[in-house]
Symmetry: C2
Subunit: 307 residues, 2 copies
């Protein structure tokens, strides 16, 4: 009902990072793409097969040293329903390998529609007496613009099935301030949203003190990150923006508590495209991903010690 | 590059409404569910087949009198990737029948990820020289919490492929005010978001004056609807909340301009579950949907005259 399972994995691996599986087509090594490109009448199917092979090899290469993966739904939807099949298979494969899976979908809606998203990504559906698991991730990113009606249906699933959510609070992009930094009664919108996370998670706190309602806070805004760490003591952070987007290890240090917990830092391109730099060959993409995952872990360890 | 195609369809049918295809499993008549329930090892596949039949029959029954459908992605994701296949087939089928298709996905992200969503739902993808269309709807609902970085990639696709987006401004649910009604420099968040829509759509205005950047504004807040109609003269409205959620024809009247244009009103359950009331049988679900669509059209026509 909270992020205890994720925290346990982070402790085990001594690694508070998550690898973003954002398989843009150009990221997949050409030799894998070529293998499937001519095989299917619908090019979406070939692309989805190539992505699945790419993902599995990356998961194989990192699953013993990285606690979690974060597949980004957009990059699977871009291959149509074939892509969603690859998405489902990626989630299942990563979980079989012992990884914690965060679906990055930034879903949002209300009432029964949000219940459908919760069932789709974290829960189960009942179909005339038969129970099925549509995608079955461990956690989901969501957008809180619609208020409590959009979050409450998720809390039920979090509680019953030991899952978690991450609500967008302060995103890593340059224009995030257009709305998120605007002041409401002297407090920025991101702080208002952050306080809502604390309140939504109140009944879902685990032993660590963190609840099942986490927040997305970008590495590109280190000041806000430290400020929010202090103001939101029960909210676990998912921190995008490290690496390719410009955030460094020092920038993310403020996301962590005195035990080196309370946050998990994401890198996507930096890891899954690591083979594109430093003299690696295409065929070494998985090895390169592992090497970069180790480098990132050690980079952050300079500033964060997990106790 | 704007909503001219939608406006044309509304004029043709003299009907500013859209039918929400939100196929929660319990909405599908039992005799259709039974037909597929035992046929597949994975119950998700049977459910997705049942939903496709349900959707097609509803589309057949309304396509000559209703300009648009709005499939809600959550209810397809809830059937896993089989559901996404049904989703793709529903979009294609409705477009073949001449309907304008609005995918209700409330998607949001930044940069290349938002490009992936735009390609997935509205555009095309290039796969080593072969072009494919993942889902291919006419318009997509989106969430603007991330600011311009999350919207700009969509504008490009809107312009190049004559598509549209609807940004969440003031949603129909009871708790929408928790954030959306809060004041930023004396103006509510929803107005700030609405003004961003006007600015995002500036270069994408059609002959009607409306741009490709629309807004979602709930029927359950008639005062805000009228206020926003006045303040956002180039922003076309998608209006949920009519019917099952409590909004009436009088409540939505303020969404329209002096030509009876500028808005399209959604009903989901009210239409697709119409067979559950008024003495219809299950087998008459499509007829009942048509009758209710006509009733809704005529209900709104009391207050809105399309010129």
């Amino acid at each position: 009902m909270s992020f205890e399972r994720l925290i346990e994995k982070i402790r085990e691996t001594k690694n508070p990072t998550v690898v973003g599986l954002d398989p843009s087509y150009g990221y997949v090594p050409a030799y894998i793409r070529a293998k499937y490109a001519g095989e299917f009448p619908d090019p979406l199917e070939g692309a989805a097969c190539a992505v699945l092979e790419y993902n599995k090899k990356i998961i194989d290469a990192i699953c013993d040293i990285v606690p979690a993966v974060k597949p980004q739904a957009a990059y699977y939807e871009a291959y149509g329903w074939y892509g969603m099949k690859t998405f489902a298979e990626t989630v299942t494969y990563a979980r079989q390998k012992g990884m914690y899976v965060i679906t990055d979908g930034k879903r949002n809606d209300i009432g029964s529609t949000m219940e459908a998203y919760a069932a789709a990504h974290l829960g189960t559906v009942d179909l005339d007496g038969r129970t099925a698991t549509p995608f079955g991730a461990d956690a989901l990113t969501v957008n809180g613009y619609l208020g409590t009606d959009g979050i409450a249906p998720l809390l039920k699933v979090c509680k019953e099935l030991d899952k978690g959510i991450f609500v967008l609070v302060k995103t890593s992009n340059p224009s995030s301030g257009e709305l998120q930094d605007k002041k409401i009664n002297k407090r920025p919108v991101y702080e208002v949203m952050g306080k809502m996370c604390e309140s939504w998670g109140k009944e879902l706190r685990g032993e660590s003190g963190y609840s099942a309602v986490g927040a997305v806070v970008g590495a590109t805004y280190p000041e806000q990150l430290s400020e929010l760490r202090e103001k939101l003591p029960h909210t676990f952070f998912l921190v995008p923006g490290y690496g390719a987007q410009g955030g460094g290890a020092k920038d993310v240090a403020g996301a962590f508590d005195e035990n080196g917990l309370g946050a998990i830092v994401n890198s996507s391109r930096g890891i899954i495209c690591a083979y594109k730099k430093d003299g690696w060959t295409e065929e070494q993409f998985a090895e390169a991903a592992r090497a970069e995952a180790i480098r990132m872990r050690d980079d952050i360890a300079q500033f964060v010690t997990i106790r």
